[in-house]
Symmetry: D3
Subunit: 319 residues, 6 copies
């Protein structure tokens, strides 16, 4: 236990531009001290085109100074439901992909053992693979996956570990149950007509943007909830699921994407799921000179924290 | 009277990039010479986080060179309905908040005595308080308020006059009638669950973005019109009511906001109200390096001018 | 004939950031070698306000490295339907408008004689006039025209050839059949209430953004298809038809425009038309420091290529 | 005569960010009212590569709000030596180079007849030609020319009037006396070894940056003063004579240029010359997103004003 | 005492882009734990023109991740000479200048009592006044002052406390001994010929940039050392003493300033002085979109730390 | 042999903004066709901090459109001395450092066998190692090395191949003769006092910026020429040797660096050396939003080409 005050600094006393840019201006903490661990994974070694997401965690921390305490629409106050702290960055090696996959997995195994649920900011999407390796100890989990891309390719440049392949690997390794996976917001031209064959054969539910627009957020999320059910589920949010007008600072923008309104609505509809962790990835500050993408990411991180805090609180034994 | 030609320069003769950047390339004028006074209030001394709106009036003037003469959808030609001129900036003191509140109020009292209706560009939202002090002479008026934030806090940093508090002050001072106030587009996490208590208790109608999205612009504006009725009404437009993808250049962006289409539709639905003045605030050029926010502001300023010109013309005695 | 491989480079072998930025990483080719000629026209001499579209073709080439091979929603693989190559830039003279009108027209006459259908990137919108002069040999064609502006003014600064006048000139010259013309997305204040008189009198169908929003993309495009029918049709896409949040890098932005989703939906609904050529104009890199407008343009160029490839393939004699 | 106060606004009363951005926050005036006319020429129709200097006058006006009243090193107070006002922009036609050459020349003939000395901000360097046509009435004058380029080409794209040719034309037309011309700061690779042949044959003194660096500002300017002597002289300052680190916002940057210290030192050494006018050209805001080039230009404009005011005062009859 | 490791993180183990951006990646500490306290003062309420330095401390912290351990030229290793830590930000109130002057002074009095020497990052230059009020307990100290401006004005906008007046106030209050003050790098036009009268009359040594350029860094610094002598001295470094090409991100740039080479040389020549504290002020991130000014500031902060560490070590009793 | 015209396009006929951005607007060629091969190596997998140089070759190609034909100071016309062409990019794998080291080495071995001298644009500095592996066939060569950093570290993150180690590896592998190596422009704090021990022990001549400033470019380069002598020599130019005001777009900027004037002077003094190849590395476009670094790099590339062309021509047998 700890006597830290796990509340963001009061912006009526310490201005938002002052002080240390921890996530949401929360205390620095160890996973053992908290219920929810805010973690950065500053690694972009799996990026095949435009790099830069290694700078994501720091800039999201910086912009997350705008986060306040109570959700205006749901009334959720995550800092009252759970102890939340900034647990720093997972160890990575910018020159060694294989070593980094191991060190991230090891770090998240420690988070799991400490009993904290992680809310992570990347980094490119490859990081979800070692996060899952660390977190998933008792058989495959479900996945709600917001993304413009399926990331179920087999390889690029002869390499099976990059930001286009993590979810194929995770299925192959038994970390994810493909029948309990749903990918929402897919779009963009593909390199080959067979690109989605693996995902389809495995039974992953693919919801392209066209279907999403046709049906709307509510209908889609009801299906998504049904797919993952009440069993343990991970949620991964690739910032490029948003339209580039909301999130230009990312490596592989695809026009015609989600609005932030739609993303917010869907995250709020994920309340009550059995969440073991969440990540938000692919924020690339070098391509975001005005900082808007990081502001968007920080705000969505608060939305995600609200549902994770509710999930954590729901699992807590009474008393 | 004056023999000035109160029409924007002809862009087929003087290019838009040439000449002096008065608002809409209109003549410089005194309030006495015009029906509608375009005014800048370059003050951001009430800003609690990111400063810069002191540069707003100049940059909106600069980008307002794109403004043309006739509204494409309503057919309104404001420059034919009313004499409109650039009446310069209200006097302010960047080092003294109290003195500035007085000098702005004095300036607007002069505008009122001159019989001109002001269309103002800020500056941060605190400026609406002294504008109302100068303009409101005969009892409280109604308010249509577009904003992501209610701005009815009591204080920040122990200070009761800042850009989070003007509308509480204005109600307390009897400048606004809370029963005739409507706030549209509210959103964003709050510091405390009690943040909206004052506004609710006072009877202000709060329309959060979620309700707005549910009901749509038309329905919401019909209610707003009913709330303010036919009595004197002020309209204030905080640029942060727009989604940050349309207006990144502001100090407190909140994702999930209005589209410009929605804003335009609502402004057009405000035709026929009894308007005593309008302001557009919180444009912050240092956070708008590409100038897009100022372009948006300049275009909305024309939309606002059209409804103000109609209101002014409607009050004019026949003959 | 040629033995070139008219497929984009494989991004799993040659990274997208490597190699020469031809359009879509396709081979350089002559019009004679291809079915569809991708062409740049780097000319902005018809621009009355903010210049810079002369830099458009190069930057769209640069960003078009992100283009992949197969359309995710329609399944169209344009590079399998037609030989597509980068045919370079049309010759222009930045100091001489009249000479440039001639040299562009001559270049496109050559493209026509070679039997290739052009997909062009501008340049300002004046370039569509000489393109049509070169392409249209057998009587007026129809036009689907996406734009915020009608571009049917008579003159600016005493000059009848500028980016506000090409479609009046094209009608006058018998290149376009006004009864088979539709303009979609019009908006923005106008200089004079009579600005649309020519277009209306000629019988051009004007669809303002307000009507578009009311009816939706599907309904509007069904009408547009009916207007142009099955006869030869040209399609011109001014990037400023999009809302500036999607395409800030243009000279005359107008708020309240199309979303990219809407634009994509309408382009896909133009499948099956009898297209003789397409252009995408008014991308201005100096006003697009983050490159987002060029990314949007490159992606839409792929959408446009898909429908042009289908049109070309449909006209090809069997066997 | 006029009773205007030809002093910049007091920045201790009206903040620099407030009010109308006239040049140096001086009154708007006619040439007849002033001794020195500050004039913009927003024309870039002579530009062969990157356009944008049409936006120069407005942005230099904007940034010139920083100008103060007394030169810290020389003690000169130009506003006490001469009446100085903002005389607006010369008329130009962005679509017609020939017409613009005439309208600029006509405007400057009017300035000459009014007895005012012009201090002009461009625009591209071609504008110096019509300025001289308007100003030079009594035989050729001398020229001090700061520039990275000689601008004595014969033609580009078959056109003899562009920003690479004005000084050849001016010599040919008898506006400049080549024996009294000096060009300082020349550098950059050339298209052809013969590029400087005209200038050399005509007797223009060419001082390349290498010679400048070897000799230093003082020695070079002593020679320059000797070359132009005490006869009427024009001074033209192309911002690209500065190193791009000081002035990135220009169309044709050349590395290895002058420092601002060197430029300031040379301008101050031009005190006491018989100056008939000065211009500062090639500031291109679209390539200067941070505004630094315009700040530099505005500051140099004050340096230039100081020497022009002394020259004007020196010619004034006693009494 | 503390067992913290007061060394920057090892960049060969934790990448520079990872982890929390404390100053120089040092531990967070209280003044009591360290010999040298790195402190931010995020206040710009004394700014008369362009605001933004309130964001300075955070961005300098961010960019200071590049700082290494040993000075390449002097061999000084400050972290071996003294315990150095990040002591956070002084308390400020963005809405209340008077209260902030008090709270800063109180904070620095605490630093003094703790026995730590402060190295501060601003904030605007007004902050030096309350810092001195807190630090100076035993009679006036000497001052080495690098700046483009003397900051000895009497008032602006009727206010005696702003970033143009701190050194007049400090002299008046007996905090600084004007005979032991030297200002280096002064330049820029002045509002009135009398602007320097107070400083001159008080006996402050003013070294304008012209004298500096004439004499060189070595000669000037020898004089500066003689002026302050071996008595307690404060050093203040306004980033605008640098030429704007090195430090565009500041509110009042003046061309023709110091190079970073010259600044580094002078700081190194300040070795061995009896320094009680140092500040570096006027870094304004909103005007520094590329971050270069903050990188420059962070590097100079290391130079300043080296001389302060030597001064601190020299005063330490042996053993 | 080939009948291509190995001259840049004529900018008086094809504008600089038109056409394909090959290096210097030269023809695409194979190494066999040319004497000098302009090559890109878009790899930044050896970067320990800020990535992005993978985008360097493309952006330098883009900006190299400004290159002209004849050196203004030396009169050298490289395109008349040697056939120069754009030989594209070396093959790289962004996900595999080891494979990339091999593929680059293989590519350059091919260049060597073709008899062409390479002028390369990176990429991070690690690429020089495989370039040397490919080029150096007959024993160690000399090196003139412009850089802020020695790049003779042993390892980072446990990895011996990264952009801080290439020159230690090259010495160890016998590719470079340390007695014939000179590093010019070194500066910046170091991680450990022993950082330069390897370089010093090996006999590499280290010239820090302080010595450079003291002695001047001429004296330093005379020594450098003596060190490498007349034997085969490679020249490597890290753009970060320049002061960041000239080259902000790089990953590890160090203030107090070379001016472009100094760099140009030193390159010109390298005329007559026996050069086997040259590279220019560490240009990082994501950190260069205004493009100035790439313009600087393109201009220096022309300077470097001039001396390489002379070297190539000097080795050519007469006739």
């Amino acid at each position: 236990m700890t006597d830290k005050d796990f509340q963001p600094l009061d912006s009526g006393i310490v201005p938002r531009f002052a002080g240390m840019p921890t996530f949401m201006r929360l205390p620095v903490a160890t996973p053992e001290e908290v219920d929810i661990a805010l973690i950065g994974v500053p690694f972009d070694g799996g990026t095949t085109n435009r790099p830069g997401t290694r700078h994501g965690p720091r800039e999201v921390r910086n912009q997350s100074s705008i986060v306040r305490r109570v959700h205006h629409a749901t009334g959720v106050s995550p800092f009252d439901l759970a102890r939340v702290g900034d647990c720093g960055d997972a160890p990575i090696n910018p020159l060694n992909l294989d070593e980094t996959l191991e060190s991230i997995a090891g770090f998240y195994a420690g988070v799991r053992r400490a009993g904290a649920a992680p809310l992570t900011v990347g980094g490119d999407h490859l990081i979800t693979l070692p996060i899952l390796r660390g977190l998933v100890a008792d058989g495959p989990v479900g996945l709600i996956h917001f993304d413009a891309h399926s990331d179920t390719y087999d390889s690029f440049f002869g390499n099976r570990y990059n930001h286009g392949t993590p979810f194929r690997r995770a299925v192959e390794e038994g970390l994810l149950d493909p029948k309990r996976m749903v990918q929402i917001g897919l779009r963009g031209a593909i390199s080959d007509a067979a690109n989605y064959d693996f995902a389809k054969a495995a039974g992953i539910r693919l919801i392209f943007i066209e279907e999403f627009v046709e049906r709307g957020a509510k209908d889609v999320m009801e299906e998504a909830r049904a797919i993952v059910g009440s069993q343990p589920t991970y949620l991964t949010f690739d910032i490029d699921v948003l339209d580039p007008c909301f999130a230009p600072g990312t490596g592989t923008p695809e026009i015609g994407g989600l609005t932030t309104r739609e993303a917010q609505a869907m995250i709020r509809m994920a309340r009550g799921l059995n969440l073991i962790g969440i990540d938000l990835v692919e924020v690339s500050p070098p391509f975001d000179p005005s900082g808007g993408t990081a502001i968007t990411a920080a705000t969505l991180m608060f939305e995600l924290l609200c549902i994770l805090a509710e999930s954590v609180a729901a699992k807590r034994p009474p008393g």
